[in-house]
Amino acid sequence: MKTKGTVTGIVSNLVSVRVDGPVSENEICYIDLAGVRMMAEVIKVNGDTASVQVFESTRGLKGGDSVEFEGRMLEATLGPGLLSSVYDGLQNNLATMDSVFLRRGEYTDPLDHEKLWDFTPLVKSGDSVVAADWLGEVKEGWLPHKIMVPFSFSGTYTVKSVKEAGSYNVDTEIAVLTDEKGDDHSVTMVQKWPVKIAIKGYREKPRPDRIMETGVRVIDTLNPIAEGGTGFIPGPFGCGKTVLQHAIAKQGDADVIVMAACGERANEVVEIFTEFPELIDPHTGRHLMERTTIICNTSNMPVAAREASVYTAMTICEYYRAMGLKCLLLADSTSRWAQALREMSNRMEELPGADAFPVDLSAIISNFYARAGMVILNNGQRGAVTFIGTVSPAGGNLKEPVTESTKKAARCFYALEQNRADQKRYPAVGPLESYSKYLDYPEIAEYLDKTVEEGWVEKVLRSKNIIRRGKEAAEQINILGDDGVPMSYHVNFWKSELVDFVILQQDAFDAVDALCPLERQRFMLDLILEICEKDYEFEDFEKCREFFKNLINELRQMNYSVYESEQFFAYNDSVKKMIA
């Protein structure tokens, strides 16, 4: 029997409910407001009073209104058809809602139950299976979507029967599994999983050993992110966080991309689902939308569902990872999620931590980042969830709780800098403050040696050093004046400008420059190092400036030219002549 309750208190979306039976933490309940059922989640229990956060506006709710508890946590529905979908934070399909405005209590099914999928079995009767093992597969676009033993099944099962190859909808029973006690369990293409709990069902989670290509030079060349790695992008507004994230989403080398628009602008989501169906995935030649799922809880949507949105997104990624696929999760922005936690904590009158955030913020963030990772599945295949979150630090100050907590959890740090953005040096990733801890991994270095070129990491470090020396020179020039420093300072400064303009800066809106494959990055870095490791003599600093400005211009034109085209090599020759 379901536990029932009545509303006793309301502050914005925090509602107190007196309950008549057992309730559990994070249990889902529905509040009845004149026939409209509004979903809510238990976040605190005190005696017979449960505090619930409502995923809707509580306007019009009264004391005494009735509540029904569901006996389950917030769950994601997992099955074929997740890709190309646009969901809200609770996984309601936004595309199948009729009205222009979001209506309270309107919940739509995440999956299409009519659509037929071409099923092929991967097991036979008598096989022994455990949770997450593959029972069969359907083609979701071009992706082999595995139908798995539900993650909630514990112990070993024997396949009693499996459906023969054919076209079925998601609700068709595709297998019957017998547990150790001899009881039969029916399995369809759909399973549910509580979003706040990580999906396990893999053999091991080793250290990442290869990089995920993004086509963005400042990431791939200087601060590469590992496949199955974690990174975050903090930056004040207007520094290009969103443009950078969209670039990664468009170009990232992943089979599945889940974008969680968490408390951000609705128009940015519109941009994704307007442009992605038109754009082509550079790795497969398919439409980008085919590999993309959007979870959007924009800033004007109910605050409580913001938190749910990132967990729902992560759960979908873990689901695809269990199929042996490479997934990339982009969450913009985790600060909004943290603020949602703060709003609730505040309404519950909890003692606040720093900047009024809840005290367990740091633990919540690191637990979430820990769900990313590369895994070896039970059948020996690899799967990965790479996670990149953005952080919107208040006042652009990185010494604030969300940035600091995230820094402890994420392995890559892409600091967007206001002064670079002011100078339109995009992407405004600060070259010296940013880092990738994966460059220190011997397995990554080895991988780069093999796939890019021998000694690559050392070259990357050399290019960073050029930037560092240039910065020191620039400081001296600023203090002592152009004439007050030796010529070598000018040369060092301009060498770092060369790296800045040619490697760091990249035009995300230029058809050619936006995507720079690793092979092209290798070519350019080698060329830049060749230039920078030469000695140059100039009569005066004006000549030095002019020389490098011209060089930079040629190299930028090169970035705008199609790789290995006639034009590209013409610029290359011209550069070689200039430095001869």
Binding site: G60, G238, R265, N267, D422, Y560
Partner: protein
Amino acid sequence: MANKAYQRIYTKLEGITKATVSLRAQGVSNDELAVVGGKLAQVVRIKGDLVTLQIFSGTEGIPTNAEVTFLGEPPTVKVSDQLAGRFFDAYGHPIDGGPEIEGEARPIGGPSVNPYKRRQPSQLIPTGIAGIDLNNTLVSGQKIPFFADPDQPYNQVMADVAMRADVDKIILGGMGLTNDDYLFFRQSFEAAGALDKIICFINTTENPPVERLLVPDMALTAAEYFAVEKDEKVLVLLTDMTLYADALSIVSNRMDQIPSKDSMPGSLYSDLAKIYEKAVQLPSGGSITIIAVTTLNDGDITHAIPDNTGYITEGQLYLKADTDTGKVIIDPFRSLSRLKQLVQGKKTREDHSQVMNASVRLYADAQNAKTKLENGFDLSDYDLRCLDYAKDYARELLAIDVNIGIEQMLDTAWTLFAKYFTPAETGIRQALVDKYWKA
């Protein structure tokens, strides 16, 4: 509302603060309106039978035995075509001496548009101001504030933009406007002969601050009526959102909420987002564009109000006094229109974005040269050229008194490039240089 005649009257307040009162009452719904001692109030908290009400016009003079009646519904605004050309207070009552509006009463602060039903903004809103059109192009369905110090002429610039924009309705939400500024808007609208497309909801400094909380929702609910039902292009002007946020902090403070940064409520981001996200391009062709003003304290954008605003809006426009030319300019460094790439080079000439970037980069070089000069160093020939360029650029393109077409702005920029620089120094893509360079 059927049982209104039997509505119970309460006469015992248990607590009074400057902005709220609380009393014991039953059957009260969240967000509903009430009248407390003749003043309009709204339910903000229910705890058992203890109800807290926010009194819009302040609690001055309210006795503990004030009569309280609940109205059973949230704040509403009456919408119909009769709104056009009218001036209202924060409650939607006419202040222009005209009759009350007849129309459907709509709850304000209604639900959000399903993001999936939105369309990508793609219509350029030309303003004639190059600092905007060239560098920070506006698009219908966008939301963007002016970040300005209180002494800057932001209301004038906003009025100019509004009068030049090609829209069907202009809705002004004035919060804490001085009476002088209110009259300024009124006169500019009258002088432009645009009164028939103007609607104003005004809270002046003479009105109680908490009343301001109603103004944006009033203006935007009216805007939604015209955009959704009449498929019109609506421009909403909100000034000054800093004073709106101040009113939020007053209420949250009186409700004993723990303040976060700068004594603002922890929900400031969501509160502001609910307003700004009403900006929308609808599939039917209607749109709501929001241009707001956020006044700064001595240019400090790290304060919670401009900071949260910047994360919500699609860019921001800074006004700045240019010392070289003595003009007010749109600051090319800090200003940004996030939607500009949706129209630049698509609705405007192909060279737009490269010209914009090059001209700003060269202006940045001029600022570096200026720093060198101030530090007493010799300037190079390039520095000197940059400085001269910067003066021309500020006068002919950045100043807010510029009023020319976009092609003309681009041509002006090419003329300046040719006057002071070589093509290589501009770093513009060769194909464009070949086509547009003014030899």
